[in-house]
């Protein structure tokens, strides 16, 4: 029995697993590119991306980290 091309073997090597996820990722990207920019799913994904960017921006702020550290020390 011959193995079907591009099929996913659950007991495969790491390279095969990575290739599988890359293939799936490319399929998602292709599907998103084909979607119109004002469609519901694209707008939802843009909103989620915006929220994550704001959270990351805040969490990477040294001022926030230092202020919380001082607040912790003052009450400790």
């Amino acid at each position: 029995m011959t193995k079907e091309k591009n099929s996913f073997d659950p007991i495969g090597t790491n390279a095969e697993i990575l290739r599988f996820f890359k293939q799936q990722w490319n399929q998602i990207i292709d599907w998103l590119k084909a979607e119109p920019s004002d469609s519901f799913i694209v707008r939802i994904l843009k909103a989620i991306g915006k929220v994550l960017a704001v959270i990351l921006f805040i969490l990477l702020s040294p001022v926030v980290a230092v202020t919380l550290f001082i607040a912790f020390l003052l009450a400790f």
């Binding site: 929220v51 704001v54 959270i55 921006f57 969490l59 926030v64 919380l68 607040a71 912790f72």
Partner: protein, 131 residues
């Protein structure tokens, strides 16, 4: 670096009455509590939470403008998420590390009042500067 410090020192954001009042009350309370051993129940419990967000958001704005060079005021979503993150850390993360921190709903209410005060201050500042 010297230029950045000079710019920060001359930044009108740091001269806003809300920021100065909050810093004054924060320092006065810390001095009274730690050095003079004067304890006011309400202030010991909630004053720090009330003044935390106006101070933190002002410093965050200064960092954004002078260190990240983004010359846009703090947005509404940034205020909301920063308040959510600070509320979560102070009320749910800190109690794991010290028994002095306890979960209190009023802490969160005062945190949000502080954020609202900062938002209204920015809103009226922008509104007045447009006029």
């Amino acid at each position: 670096m010297k230029k950045i410090l000079h710019d920060i020192w001359n930044d009108p954001i740091l001269c806003r009455p809300l920021f100065l009042i909050c810093v004054f009350f924060f320092l006065a309370h810390q001095i009274a509590e730690k050095w003079m051993d004067i304890h006011l129940k309400w202030a010991d419990n909630y004053l720090d939470m009330l003044v935390l967000m106006p101070i933190l958001l002002t410093l965050y704005t200064v960092e954004k403008m002078h260190f990240r060079h983004i010359h846009v005021s703090v947005s509404r979503s940034e205020i909301i998420f920063l308040t959510l993150i600070v509320g979560f850390i102070s009320e749910f993360v800190f109690p794991y590390f010290s028994y002095r921190f306890t979960y209190d709903l009023f802490d969160l209410i005062f945190l949000w009042i502080g954020s609202l005060a900062f938002y209204l201050d920015r809103y009226f500042l922008i509104k007045l500067s447009v006029k």
